[in-house]
């Protein structure tokens, strides 16, 4: 296994121009989500770290994608600001999927947190991205303004794409003032968690979430009853809830059960953005 650790978008661009398959790694905390990546070369984000700009008056931060979330939170904390991600202190907090990690990982995975109903989640915090495309071209989406409808909302393609459409090297984020108190819990918990990380995340229409969780993960699960998000430690294959979806960690080719259809559009995106399948090949195998 070879590890490449570019220090900038342009170094990453040179690397990508070689045209070899790469496994993109932040802190590698979500390795077990999705399918295994087939690549002997690792692109590590460890040298692309640091806060480029934090404008406390604007509640906006520009961050290199390899920056550990903890570092970002520490910087923000100095101004009594933060990204509203639940702290992982108690066993219950472990149901917050896949934290900690890097900023790039946070955006690429777009996993729900147990505060989603309050904070709206990662997808909402991203104002702009710098992408190194599979062919090495560097492209930006979005802006540093908190409102922007100039052109297509291109960054949406990369949020939650697990690194398969482009390498995220820089992220413009909305940040928040720390509130005096965090919201009451919307969570219903079954069983004893003991800090076991969740291996499945399912989303269902809110009204169905309860029934679905009780029948599918009877002994242990946590449900956010406002967003219909279910976390469960399971290694058993289960079907996605009606009209919903499930994602499982470490289960090979059936990790993703998308809501039918439109896979042609997803394949077109993959073909147009990464025609040679160089970026995290295999990661979305259950999907595409």
């Amino acid at each position: 296994m070879r590890i490449e650790s570019p220090r900038s978008a342009s170094e990453a661009s040179e690397l990508l121009k070689h045209g070899e398959p790469l496994r993109i790694v932040g802190m590698d905390t979500k390795r077990d989500f999705g399918s295994p990546v087939e690549s002997s070369t690792v692109l590590s984000m460890q040298n692309m770290t640091g806060i480029v700009e934090h404008s406390p008056q604007d509640l906006v931060a520009v961050v290199r994608a390899g920056t550990p979330l903890a570092d970002l939170q520490a910087e923000l904390d100095e101004h009594n600001q933060w990204l509203p991600i639940p702290p992982t202190k108690s066993p219950l907090d472990a149901v917050t999927a896949g934290f900690p990690g890097t900023v790039g990982g946070l955006v690429s995975a777009n996993l729900p947190t147990r505060w989603d109903s309050w904070t709206r989640g990662v997808r909402y915090w991203v104002l702009g991205l710098t992408i190194v495309r599979a062919n090495g071209e560097i492209a930006k989406c979005g802006s540093k303004a908190v409102k922007n409808v100039a052109g297509y909302d291109a960054q949406k393609a990369f949020i939650g794409a697990w690194g398969t459409l482009g390498l995220i090297t820089e992220v413009v984020l909305r940040v928040y003032a720390k509130p005096s108190s965090t919201p009451e819990s919307n969570l219903i918990m079954a069983g004893d968690w003991d800090g076991v990380p969740p291996l499945a995340i399912a989303r269902a229409p809110i009204a169905d979430a309860l029934t679905y969780a009780q029948s599918t993960f009877p002994d242990r699960h946590v449900i956010d009853i406002v967003t219909g998000t279910i976390w469960a430690p399971t290694r058993t294959k289960v079907d996605a809830p009606e009209g919903g979806w499930a994602m499982f960690a470490g289960l090979g080719d059936k990790n993703w059960l998308p809501a039918k259809a439109n896979l042609d559009w997803m394949s077109n995106l993959k073909r147009n953005l990464d025609p040679q399948n160089l970026l995290n090949p295999g990661k979305l195998d259950g999907l595409l």
């Binding site: 008056q57 509640l59 409808v149 100039a150 052109g151 919201p183 059960l257 559009w265 077109n268």
Partner: protein, 479 residues
């Protein structure tokens, strides 16, 4: 392929009933009036009015087979010419598809047809203590489909997020005429975020016929203040300070002395006429009234420290409506100040608001023109309205000049050339100034992944699409 308008109309008549097709003078009038743009030189374009997703699909398939461009259209309130048929062809109007199909209060969601006016969604949700959060100022007429395609904002999207944060699913007819469904009642989807790419695509990726929207619980406490300041600078500094204090109000709207003067002349609401600017700030809370109280107290304190000359608070819903009146009627009222006006739309990092607004006043007055400002201050989303006389071609050139200077400053500061009105045909050139060619190639690759053809609302959004538009629309000034 160029087809005569009569040929188009006859073709459509074979698919639809006569009452669904609008043509001739009526069609032309509708464009000139509703679009608020100067009439295009071309002859009228038949507009087909649809009543079902299947009918839309049939018309699109027919257009594709005959290589005829088609342009989706909602209420036509868009401010960048997005619903204008830049290459002629068929205008597909959704305004007859205006039913609320389903309300699901338990899942806080509502399914409506694309032609449904924005306000009707909230009306339907009210009995359940819920509402549709995006509230563009045009909300009594603009449609859900228009909101989805422009990714519209409004005063309260400062706290609650713009349209894209409230769309759960879509039914659409794609650019080939196939009916598709995306998303649904779950709050997100696995795989690529197609829904997120289609919202804000200005009708260039297909025609939306229905949408599942997220409903938001009504706040239990709303606190509203209207503060008057001696000059705009003190008001904009107040805005920056409020945001920097960590409060994100539900809404924070700015109106300057020119707006105030026009509103007062039209409606006699007793606004303090010596004020140079007004700030309307609303704080609300979903759970705990104390929080809204605390926030508004801080807001009032910051207003005072910035020399507010008068601060009005609302105790009842009636009083609240009065405080909002200047904001709601402001744009209409300035109609009396000038024969023509053009509304710009740019966004800047909000801490830069004081200096940028100074720049706006300076730039416009250097051109010998007047400007009125009424905008979503909390987002840093400027809407300078330049007043002029469109019969004077020298003035028109100056208006364009001043507008471009303002937009360039927005780009320089890392902001955007549009916060809510979109690119349409108006801002295609500016998009090329905000983004590099590589950035735009990425956008083009996304477009062709979803719409590989060139018939669905051609000539919009991307400069690569522009070459085929022969009309010189870009220098056009909305009047």
């Amino acid at each position: 392929m160029i087809r005569s308008d009569e040929w188009l109309a006859q073709g459509l008549a074979s698919l639809l009933t006569e009452t669904q097709i609008m043509r001739g003078e009526a069609g032309q009038m509708r464009f000139t009036i509703a679009m608020r743009t100067t009439p295009s030189k071309r002859n009228w374009t038949p507009s087909s009015f649809h009543c079902s997703t299947e009918e839309v699909a049939e018309v699109v398939k027919w257009c594709v087979k005959n290589e005829i461009p088609f342009t989706p259209r909602g209420a036509g309130t868009g401010l960048s010419g997005g619903a204008l048929p830049a290459l002629g062809g068929v205008v597909v109007s959704l305004t007859r598809m205006r039913r609320i199909l389903q309300i699901d209060p338990e899942n806080r969601a509502l399914l409506a047809e694309a032609g449904c006016p924005n306000i009707a969604l909230t009306k339907a949700a009210t009995p359940f203590g819920l509402h549709f959060a995006p509230d563009p100022s045009s909300q009594t007429v603009c449609t859900l489909g228009g909101n989805v395609n422009e990714n519209s904002g409004g005063p309260h999207t400062l706290k609650y997020g713009v349209t894209t944060d409230h769309i759960l699913g879509l039914t659409m007819v794609d650019a080939a005429g196939e009916i598709r469904r995306l998303g649904g009642l779950t709050s997100s989807q696995p795989g690529y975020d197609l829904l997120g790419l289609i919202v804000g695509s200005e009708g260039t990726l297909g025609i939306i016929t229905e949408a599942w929207v997220r409903l938001t619980p009504n706040p239990i406490a709303i606190r509203t203040v209207l503060a008057a300041f001696p000059n705009p600078r003190l008001a904009t500094e107040t805005v920056s300070e409020i945001i920097a204090s960590g409060i994100v109000p539900a809404a924070m709207e700015f109106m300057d002395g020119t707006i105030l003067e026009a509103v007062e002349a039209a409606f006699h609401v007793g606004l303090p006429l010596d004020a140079g600017a007004l700030l309307l700030v609303e704080c609300d809370s979903l759970h705990n009234a104390g929080q809204a109280d605390n926030e508004i107290e801080t807001v009032v304190r910051i207003c005072r420290s910035n020399k507010a000359i008068e601060i009005r608070t609302a105790k009842t819903e009636d009083e609240r409506a009065k405080l909002w009146l200047a904001r709601k009627k402001g744009i209409g009222a300035i109609g009396r100040l000038s024969p023509s006006m053009v509304t710009h739309d740019g966004v800047i990092p909000r801490s830069k608001l004081p200096e940028v607004l100074d720049f706006v006043y300076r730039t416009v007055s250097n051109e010998g023109l007047r400007v009125a400002n009424i905008f979503h201050a909390g987002d840093g989303n400027l809407h300078p309205i330049i007043l002029f006389d469109d019969r004077d071609s020298r003035q028109v050139a100056k208006v364009v000049e001043a507008g471009e200077k303002i937009m360039r400053l927005c780009i320089e500061l890392g902001g955007s050339v549009t916060g809510e009105h979109g690119i349409g045909v108006e801002k295609i050139d500016l998009l090329g100034e905000m983004f590099s060619e590589a950035d735009l190639r990425l956008q083009e690759d996304i477009r062709r992944s979803i719409n590989p053809g060139d018939l669905c609302n051609p000539g919009k959004v991307l400069p690569t699409q522009k070459s085929c538009v022969e009309v010189k629309l870009r220098r056009r000034v909305a009047t």
